[in-house]
Symmetry: C2
Subunit: 250 residues, 2 copies
């Protein structure tokens, strides 16, 4: 049983509020479960709790939709104020349709609704993505190291759709402490044939693994992945975004 990975859901986190000390809440929740972080663990947090702690919440009642937001709202079947918030977070509309509003966000991500989301933030409010999710991940990683002495990697995840396939999966929108991509190119397979096109999006696979335990309905917004031998590196989720000039679908 040389290669076994554990994915552990962190239960018992309280409702996170703007200004909360997320690392303190996390360490308390772990302690209450009798769990302690270990060197090399990967701590995975949903974007939602990071955004809440950072105060990235907007009350829709206070939003004044622009003329364009009203027009887009009508075509995509959305609330005009929500649409205004989405457009403020976007730097480009990639595709819009009767139900879809797919944009490139200020962070460079391509996703529906610029990652603006109504769930688990209370009626009439929406959560935005963290301003700089890589910086958020780095700060959490450093704070964990400062308080516990333990070096972990940190991923911040969000739930994205994708073309051609049904259903959403988790992706890494913030990375600190691990190489987000693993490059097999140039290596040879067991028959000596060079491997092609084998750049693996490790951070997204880790995000999906964590997604299996981070249940939206059960209120589990964080997980630990233990036993995965990653390549330590400063890391950035920006490396997971394909540059527009090499993207056939933008």
């Amino acid at each position: 049983m040389a290669r076994a990975i554990q994915v552990i859901g962190i239960e018992g986190l309280p409702e996170v509020r703007p200004g909360d000390d997320l690392v303190a809440l996390l360490l308390d929740a772990l302690a209450a479960e009798g769990l302690a972080l270990q060197e090399g663990d990967i701590v995975v947090l949903t974007q939602k709790i990071v955004s809440k702690a950072e105060g990235r919440l907007i009350a829709l009642a206070e939003v004044e939709p622009s003329m364009f937001a009203r027009t887009v709202a009508e075509q995509t079947g959305r609330d005009p104020r929500l649409t205004e918030v989405i457009l403020r977070e976007a730097r480009r509309i990639v595709r819009m349709d009767r139900q879809v509003l797919l944009v490139e966000t200020r962070q460079g991500l391509v996703c529906a609704n610029a990652g603006v989301d109504r769930s688990n933030v209370g009626e009439g409010r929406v959560a935005l993505l963290p301003q700089d999710p890589d910086a958020s991940a780095r700060a959490i990683r450093e704070e964990i190291k400062r308080r516990t002495g333990i070096q972990v990697a940190v991923l911040i995840t969000d739930t994205f759709g994708r073309p051609w396939r049904e259903g959403l999966t988790e992706v890494a929108v913030g990375v600190a402490g691990l190489a987000p991509l693993k490059d097999h190119r140039g290596h040879r397979d067991r028959f000596g044939v060079p491997l092609q096109a084998t750049l693996v999006a490790v951070a997204d696979e880790l995000a999906c693994a964590a997604g299996l335990v981070m249940e939206k309905l059960a209120g589990i917004p964080a997980a630990i992945i233990r036993g995965y031998a990653y390549e330590p590196q400063e890391g950035t989720a920006a490396a997971l975004v394909r540059p527009p000039e090499r993207d056939l679908f933008r």
Copy 2:
């Protein structure tokens, strides 16, 4: 530690050959590691070993490329015989470019090169996807039940790229015994707000989790996921494919 999932790589599988009894090889490898299957385990196999066992291998030297295959090969920088094999597996070209040949396969999947792959099959040969990966998964599941009395779910995975994001991730191309999608729509969040757009591609997240231990270079082509509470169902990977009429990118 209520919610912990284990992802266990199955080591020690021999090189799989056409006609091999994959379930026997799998059970032997598990026994050699001192592992036994448990009720509810998810057995994950890479497409490659399933294809090999099913004899879905082609020697390129025996392929005569058509005129169109030669033309496409030239434009996409590919071997004309490989291109011929890809086109035979395809029912539609979704996108072609200087390096990319993205097609819809006969199984309905949208992926590069119709899933035709040169790695780990020996020089001058390529592996095709299983003819009907759901049927392959079902047969493996039934055979495991027959031999061990244990009810597992089975996933067959392949490694696909995706628009907008760098790197490949595992996806489920064959499913037996679990619901590939989990539907949260209609449920309400902790604030009572209805959850929207939350159809989760559980089978793909499981495939990614398994991908973390199924290392191409280390020759680990199978894994067990243990402790994930899935919804038992006949299941099919076809449900993970978005119908063309609802797909903005086809």
